[in-house]
């Protein structure tokens, strides 16, 4: 294989990596803003499944992509509302609540999905998600094909990542959110509505996880299949740590993890012996490495929100 065709093959791999990373990116952005509010929601997998099944079902019924995506976001936020009620209002254990949300979401999705197997996404919905080349940017050699020759939801995910980065680091409300996650008592004393911030961001985070799930069932595959996320929600939980709760880094991290997901498939072309099982472990191995390095460096920038996982009692001030 000569250098030119190798480069072309690599570009095809990277294009596929961006696509494979997109459901991860949505879920990671959702979980990032959730965790920034101090709540660890381990229900990502369940919320993605709820979004995936709701998006698919409403896509079939309404034949309208906007309704389908809205339904996906609403369904997943409904799941996160249960979590928010349990952990913010009732101050229940966040790990247990998140895990039950995962089991609950998988069950609901399986139940509703029973009748969806073998059904096809209507053409009117599919037409919305055909790849569209962005003028100028799409013509840059290499980069244009890899990043700017995709469907509309991928472009939306770029904008969301950048928008959430600006929100988190450059706006008053973003500062408040970070304060709630770092030190809710101080934020409360400063007059910030701690519970309101938590609720809003847990719900918005759920909606984004739902979009990630709907991306799988409506655009990526697109067909319904039992347990369609196949553990990608857990990868997103690891990814949030990997990108240090930073939406900008999430953009790169998601494509990196998406690439790892399909790397084995592209390597099988060559005479390289890499076991798929090793490749499946890589996202978790790199996450552990990142955890080790950040805790050695004690870097403040990469540390988790200080009050993450701790219920906030006003009385405890």
């Amino acid at each position: 294989m000569d250098a030119a065709s190798l480069a072309a093959y690599a570009a095809l791999f990277l294009t596929a990596a961006v696509k494979a990373g997109t459901p991860l990116l949505y879920a990671t952005l959702g979980e990032t803003i959730t965790e920034r509010s101090g709540n660890l929601n381990l229900g990502v997998e369940g919320m993605m499944l709820m979004g995936a099944v709701a998006g698919f079902q409403f896509g079939l019924i309404t034949r309208n992509p906007l309704f389908a995506l809205t339904a996906a976001m609403l369904a997943a936020s409904l799941g996160s509302l249960i979590f928010a009620f349990l952990t913010v209002t009732l101050r229940a254990n966040q790990v247990v609540s998140g895990l039950s949300l995962t089991i609950f979401g998988a069950g609901i999705a399986g139940f509703i999905g029973q009748k969806l197997s073998g059904q096809v996404v209507p053409a009117s919905v599919k037409a919305w998600f055909y790849p569209v080349k962005i003028p100028l940017l799409g013509d840059i050699p290499g980069i244009g094909q890899i990043l700017f020759n995709h469907d509309i939801l991928i472009y939306l995910s770029y904008m969301l990542a950048i928008g959430l980065g600006i929100y988190l680091f450059n706006t008053r409300k973003g500062l408040n959110l970070r304060a709630v996650g770092e030190n809710p008592a101080a934020a409360d004393a400063a007059g910030i509505g701690v519970s309101l911030y938590k609720y809003v961001h847990i719900l918005a985070g759920g909606a984004l996880c739902g979009l990630g799930g709907a991306y799988l069932s409506l655009v990526y595959v697109p067909a319904w299949q039992e347990n369609i996320t196949a553990g990608r929600g857990w990868i997103a939980v690891a990814l949030v740590i990997f990108v240090a709760w930073n939406p900008y880094k999430a953009l790169l991290g998601a494509f990196f993890f998406g690439g790892l997901d399909i790397l084995g498939l592209y390597l099988q072309k060559f005479d390289i012996k890499v076991s798929q099982y090793i490749i499946n472990m890589l996202p978790y191995i790199v996450t552990i490495l990142v955890l080790v390095f950040t805790s050695i460096k004690k870097s403040k920038e990469n540390a988790p929100p200080k009050a993450l996982g701790v219920p906030y009692f006003r009385e405890d001030r």
Binding site: Y9, L12, F13, A16, A20, P23, I82, L86, L90, R91, A92, V96, S97, S100, L101, I103, F104, G107, I108, G110, F111, G113, Q114, K115, S117, G118, V120, L216, Y220, V221, P222, A223, Q225, E226, N227, I228, A230, R232, D261, I262, G264, L265, Y266, Q268, K269, D271, K273, S275, Q276, Y277, N280
Partner: protein, 365 residues
């Protein structure tokens, strides 16, 4: 404190609500034949389990017997619980339809000598336990003919689940079929290492299309590979079930299971009192499996060629694994005058690819 209690209760309610989502048919025991099935996937999976479920419905229709099933039953000890539940509900004939149910089925057979057991795709039998499977390589070979005639790039992609004899012999039979009509074509294999992850199966198909393939087939349980082919203007061959609706512009045909043929035959024998436990393997001749009708997308010249080869398979003049067969490096693996039988193709010695396959098997030692 009471808040904590409330929250714990809510969590329990959430967890319990799952239990009620599992569905199952019911019915009373009445001393007649009542047949229970244990399924690994959901009954509408569009693949393996749905093929068995269709077989169960065919049995119900033909013999008017009562049936019930448990779906989404994990392999291993959990499956024994499902078998027990079916027996408690009055089933006296049990079919377990995944490889990993083999030992639990055998244990249950020993504990319930009056119940008759059938295990799919394994190799153990007992006085009251049969096993059953089929020569899938026969319709795989036929589907290879269709692919070999269709390809323009002479590169055909094969998304495969795991490096096990059942999958490997399918790839080999398919490739032999391809080469019988198109000696220049190669079959490229990508291992997905999953039965059930449609997103990854799609990615594997895309990787093959990126590598220049224009016909894709698969040994996995979802329809994602056909969709991938359709999106790129390529063509696809399915597996398990005839599913042209998943990708009508790409789908050409599929090797399919007709489990109902076997289910009716065995339950009939039980009702007539002539049943004996055995190891059964059927092929096209027995009607257990076949190639689904070719769609309009399939090459027009394929129909006659497939029909001819199909007839020869039935009358025995064409045997898929008849020597001489060379492996990837050109060594004669099956010498002239020798033919691999069903047992050979399912044994652990089936760990090599025929000439014309591009891919690797990691042999475990």
């Amino acid at each position: 404190m009471s808040r904590k209690v409330t929250s714990i209760m809510l969590v329990i309610v959430l967890a319990l609500s799952l239990v009620f989502t599992a569905g199952c048919g019911t019915g009373a025991s009445n001393g007649k034949v009542k047949v229970g099935f244990v399924f690994i996937g959901p009954i509408k999976d569009g693949g393996w389990t749905e093929a068995h479920y269709n077989g169960m419905n065919y049995l119900k229709e033909q013999l008017k017997v009562e049936t019930m099933y448990r779906e989404l039953v994990p392999e291993g000890p959990e499956s024994k619980k499902a078998i027990k539940e079916l027996i408690n509900a009055g089933c006296n004939v049990i079919f377990t339809t995944s490889f990993g149910y083999m030992d639990p089925t055998l244990e249950a057979a020993k504990e319930n000598p009056k119940v008759k057991f059938f295990h799919c795709s394994g190799f153990k039998t007992a006085e009251n336990m049969s096993n059953y499977f089929g020569r899938m390589y026969e319709p795989r070979y036929l589907s290879g003919i269709v692919a070999g005639l269709k390809t323009k790039t002479n590169k055909i992609g094969y998304v495969a689940a795991y490096e096990i004899p059942e999958v490997i012999n399918g790839i080999n039979a398919f490739t032999l079929g391809v080469q019988s009509v198109n000696p220049n074509a190669v079959v490229k294999v990508r291992w997905s290492h999953t039965w059930i992850d449609s997103a990854l199966e799609k990615a594997a198909a895309v990787a093959l299309l990126d590598d220049g393939c224009d016909v894709i087939t698969q040994h996995n349980d979802s329809t994602a590979t056909y969709i991938a082919a359709q999106e790129r203007g390529a063509y696809a061959i399915g597996y398990n079930l005839d599913m042209p609706s998943a990708a009508p512009k790409a789908y050409m045909t599929a090797p399919v299971w007709n489990w109902g043929v076997y289910y009716v035959q065995e339950v009939k024998a039980i009702m007539e009192g002539t049943w004996k436990a055995a190891a059964y393997q059927g092929g096209i001749k027995e009607g257990l499996l076949d190639l689904a009708p070719l769609t309009e997308v399939a090459p027009p010249e394929a129909k006659a060629k497939v029909e001819e080869a199909r007839k020869q398979i039935i009358d025995g003049t064409l045997q898929v694994f008849k020597g001489p067969i060379k492996d990837q490096s050109g060594n004669i693996k099956v010498p002239e005058g020798k033919t691999l039988n069903y047992e050979d193709t399912m044994s652990m010695d089936m760990n090599w690819f025929v000439q014309g396959v591009e891919g690797k098997i990691e042999v475990q030692k």
